[in-house]
C-alpha cells in the first residue's frame, strides 16, 4: 500500500476501512452510497478485490450446494398448517 500514500485511496476509503465493512457489503447490509465507494475501491485495489472475490466464491458455493429440504416434508407441514388455519388442531401424524 506504500504507493497509495500521499493520494486519496480508491473510493475514498482505505483498505482497512473496506475490510471492516466488506462482509456487510457482500451480504447487502450496507447503504447504496457506501456500497458505491466500496465498489470503487474494489475495482482499483487488487488485494481487496481478490479478498472480495474469494468471499463471493465461498458464498456462491455454499448457496449452490445448499441441501434440499425434502418436498414431502414441506407438503406435510403445509397440510398441517392449513388444517390449523381452518381452525382445526390436528393430532400429530
Amino acid at each position: 500500500m506504500r504507493k497509495l500514500l500521499g493520494r486519496t485511496p480508491p473510493g475514498g476509503m482505505s483498505c482497512h476501512q473496506v475490510g471492516e465493512v466488506l462482509q456487510q457489503y457482500l451480504d447487502g447490509h450496507i447503504d447504496a452510497d457506501r456500497a458505491r465507494r466500496i465498489e470503487a475501491h474494489l475495482d482499483e485495489c487488487r488485494r481487496c478485490g481478490m479478498e472480495a472475490d474469494t468471499y463471493e466464491r465461498i458464498k456462491s458455493t455454499l448457496v449452490a450446494h445448499r441441501p434440499q429440504v425434502p418436498a414431502e416434508s414441506i407438503d406435510r407441514l403445509r397440510e398441517f398448517g392449513e388444517r390449523l388455519a381452518r381452525g382445526e388442531e390436528p393430532t400429530r401424524p
Binding site: Q23, E56, V63, R76, L77, F80
Partner: protein
C-alpha cells in the same frame, strides 16, 4: 386479533408462507430431517395458539423466536446432557449425526474445500454461516434464532468466513484465475 376467524386468516397470511424457511433453519439447528420436521410442526402449533397476541410486525422474526424456544425446550426434555456440558455434547452430536451436508457429488476441488472447511468449523461459527449464507436469514433473523446480539452474528460470520478463506489460500486458490 381476538376474533377466531381473523386469527385463522392471520395465521394463513403470516405463518404459512414461512414454512420452508422454518424447515431450513430447523435443519440447520437439528441436522436431522425428521427432527427438523417435528420441530417445525411444534412451532406451527405454538404459533397458532399465540397468533392472537401477535401484532403482525416481522412475522419471520416472531416465528424464529418460537422455533428457537421450542428447540431449546425439546433439547431440555430429550437431551439433558446438553445443559451440563454443551460443548462436549454438541461435539458428540456432530460426530454422531449423519451429516447431510457432505461433499458427496461435488466435483469442483475448490467447492469441496469450501464445504469441508465449513464442516470443520466449531458449532457457533458453522451455524451462523449456515443460517446466513445457506438459509438466507438476515443478521437480525440469525441473531433471533441464536439468541445473541446482531454484533455477535456479524463477528462470528466474519471469523467463520475468514477461516474458510484461509483454508482456500492454503491450497493456493486464486479467484482471479477462474475469471
Amino acid at each position: 386479533m381476538s376474533d377466531a376467524a381473523t386469527d385463522d386468516t392471520a395465521f394463513e397470511r403470516y405463518v404459512l408462507p414461512e414454512i420452508e424457511v422454518l424447515l431450513r433453519v430447523a435443519n440447520s439447528l437439528t441436522r436431522n430431517h425428521a427432527e427438523a420436521e417435528d420441530l417445525v410442526q411444534d412451532t406451527l402449533l405454538r404459533a397458532y395458539r399465540a397468533i392472537d397476541g401477535f401484532d403482525g410486525r416481522y412475522p419471520r422474526a416472531w416465528l424464529l423466536t418460537i422455533l428457537r424456544n421450542t428447540h431449546i425446550n425439546r433439547n431440555r426434555r430429550r437431551r439433558p446432557e446438553l445443559l451440563r456440558d454443551p460443548d462436549a455434547a454438541t461435539d458428540r452430536m456432530i460426530s454422531a449425526a449423519s451429516d447431510e451436508r457432505t461433499d458427496e457429488g461435488v466435483d469442483d476441488e475448490i467447492d469441496v474445500e469450501i464445504i469441508r472447511a465449513l464442516a470443520s468449523l466449531d458449532e457457533p461459527f458453522r451455524q451462523v454461516v449456515e443460517l446466513v449464507d445457506i438459509d438466507g436469514l438476515s443478521y437480525a433473523e440469525a441473531a433471533e434464532v441464536l439468541d445473541v446480539p446482531v454484533g455477535t452474528v456479524m463477528s462470528r460470520l466474519h471469523r467463520a468466513r475468514s477461516r474458510i478463506r484461509d483454508r482456500l489460500v492454503k491450497v493456493g486458490f486464486d479467484p482471479r484465475s477462474e475469471l
